[in-house]
Symmetry: C2
Subunit: 285 residues, 2 copies
C-alpha cells in the first residue's frame, strides 16, 4: 500500500506523541518534529507508510538518545495480556469453533497498537476483547484459510505488537506447531514485539521464533536480514498480523492471509470496509 | 498565542482538506502539501497559528489558481443562517436576558468554522444553536462586558466567519449601534467573512462595516492596512469573535473581550477550559 496524503497528519501526530514518550526535553520534541516535517516534505509517496514510520522512529530514537523508548509500555501490555491468557484459552477451548474464536481474539489483541493510540487502559482492552467474540467478522476467506493451513508445510506467522503476541499465542497453539515459525522484529520500533517479548510471554517455549533483522513497523523485505528474506521466500504460507504488515505486504504475490483490525480510514478504504472491522483477508495470490 | 507542536498535525489536515476543496487535481494537492510541510519545518513557533494559516491559504489559492475557494460554501452558510434569523431574533427578544441570549447565539454561530470542520450540515447547526441557549456558559466577565459597552465610545466588533455573522447580528443589534463598527477580512481566507458577506446578510444596512485589509484568518495587526491599524489603536473597546481572533490577540493589552466556542484542545488548554466550552472572556487589560 502506498502513502496517501491523509497519512501525513497522522505521521506528525505519531511523531509528537512518540517524541513526548521518549524524552521530556521539549527542545528535542521540536527538533524531532521539524526533522520529520523535512523528511515527509521530500518523501517518495510510492513507499508504504511503515517505510516512513521506520525513518521517523529511527530519528526519534537517535535524537532522543533512547534505543527502546517503548520498553516499559511493552512490558506493561505483555503482563496485562498474560493475566487474561488462561481465561481466554478456556473460552477458546469451550467455543463451538475454536479456530474462529482464536482468530477473533488475535484480532482483538491487535488493538494494542501504540502507533495508533498511545494510551490504552486495561478496561478498554478487556472491553474490546469481550466484544470481539460476537462482533461482526468478515469470514469470507475463513475456509480457504483453514484449507491452506492444512496444505502448507512451512508457515510464517508475522507477529505485530508486544502484548498482542499473547493473543496470537491463542491462535498459534491451535495450529500445527511443527509447521509454524513466528517472526518478530529485529530491533525495537514503537511497541512492536521483539525476541525479548516472545521470550517473556512464553512463545519461544512452544514454537520456533525468529527475528526479521529489521526495525520497520511492518515487513519491508529489503530492510530485513538476508536470512529472513530467504526464509520468507521458502515459506509456503504467511499469516501477517496487523496494519503494518498489511501496509507493507498487501501488494505481494506470496500466499498471505492478513489478520487485523482496521484502525485508520486509509487502510479501511484500501480494504473496502469500515474502521474498526475485524479482518481475515487473503492476499493477492 | 504561540504555535504548539500539536497545531502541526492540524495544519496538515486543514491543508489537505482545503486543497481538495479548492481543486480536483491530485498533483496539486500533493505539491500544496509538500510546500506546507517545507513551510512548517522552518516556521517560527513564536508566531500565532493564524500567521501560518495565512501563509498556507495563500499557498493553496496560488498553487490551485483559485482566489476564493470557499465562496460557494460561504454563500451556503450565509443563506442557512439567514433562514434561521427571524426565529432567533424572536427568541432573543422574548428572553429574560436578551444580551446573554444573543451572546450565546453568537457563540453558537462560531461553529461555522470551515478551518476546523469542512462539512457541517443544517441539522448539526440547528442542534448546536438549540443547545447553546441552555448549555453551561462561563459568564464571569458578563457584567464587566456590559459595563464596558456602556462606557465605551468607539467599539470594534471583529467578525469571524460567513454565516456566523448573521448570528453576530443578533448581538450587534442589541448594542448601541452608533458606537459599533464591524470589521471583516480584507481578502478571502477560508470561510472568513469579507465585505461581500457583510453586504449579503444585511450587516452594512444596520451598522458601519470596514475591512481590515488582511487575508489572515485572525487579526495580525502588522498584516492589516495602515488605516485599520489606526482604527484599532483609536477604538476604546474591542469585541473579538472566534478562535482566530483569540489566537492572534490574546496577548494584546487592548481592552478586548473574546467571544468564542473552543474547538481545539490547544486553545481550550490556553483558556483553561474544556473543548466545546462557550466563552466570553476579558483580555489582558
Amino acid at each position: 500500500m502506498k502513502i496517501y496524503l491523509d497519512c501525513i497528519p497522522c505521521f506528525l501526530r505519531q511523531t509528537i506523541e512518540s517524541a513526548r514518550l521518549t524524552t521530556d526535553d521539549e527542545l528535542v520534541h521540536e527538533s524531532i518534529t521539524r526533522e520529520v516535517l523535512r523528511l515527509t516534505a521530500e518523501m517518495d509517496m510510492d513507499q508504504s507508510p511503515p517505510a516512513i514510520g521506520q525513518q521517523i522512529h529511527r530519528l526519534i530514537r537517535s535524537l532522543a538518545g533512547n534505543d527502546d523508548p517503548y520498553r516499559t509500555l511493552k512490558e506493561k501490555y505483555n503482563i496485562m495480556a498474560m493475566r487474561l491468557y488462561s481465561e481466554l484459552a478456556k473460552k477458546v477451548r469451550e467455543s463451538i469453533n475454536p479456530i474462529e474464536s482464536a482468530i477473533r481474539l488475535a484480532i482483538a489483541g491487535n488493538i494494542i497498537d501504540l502507533g495508533v493510540k498511545t494510551s490504552l487502559n486495561e478496561s478498554e482492552v478487556e472491553d474490546i476483547i469481550r466484544k470481539s467474540l460476537y462482533q461482526a467478522f468478515d469470514n469470507t476467506d475463513f475456509d480457504e484459510f483453514c484449507g491452506e493451513i492444512d496444505k502448507a508445510r512451512d508457515i510464517l506467522y508475522l507477529a505485530d505488537n508486544a502484548g498482542e503476541i499473547v493473543f496470537d499465542r491463542l491462535l498459534i497453539e491451535l495450529l500445527p506447531l511443527e509447521k509454524i515459525t513466528v517472526v518478530v522484529k529485529g530491533y525495537p520500533v514503537i511497541n512492536d514485539a521483539t525476541m525479548q517479548d516472545a521470550e517473556f510471554v512464553g512463545l519461544t517455549a512452544i514454537t520456533d521464533v525468529i527475528d526479521n533483522g529489521s526495525d520497520a513497523p511492518g515487513t519491508i523485505l529489503e530492510t530485513c536480514s538476508q536470512r529472513f528474506q530467504a526464509r520468507f521466500e521458502q515459506a509456503d504460507l504467511i499469516i501477517a498480523k496487523g496494519q503494518g504488515n498489511y501496509e507493507t505486504l498487501s501488494n505481494s504475490s506470496k500466499k498471505i492471509f492478513f489478520i487485523l483490525k482496521t484502525k485508520c480510514p486509509v487502510i479501511a478504504k484500501d480494504l473496502s470496509c469500515d474502521i474498526g472491522t475485524m479482518v481475515l483477508r487473503k492476499g493477492r495470490f
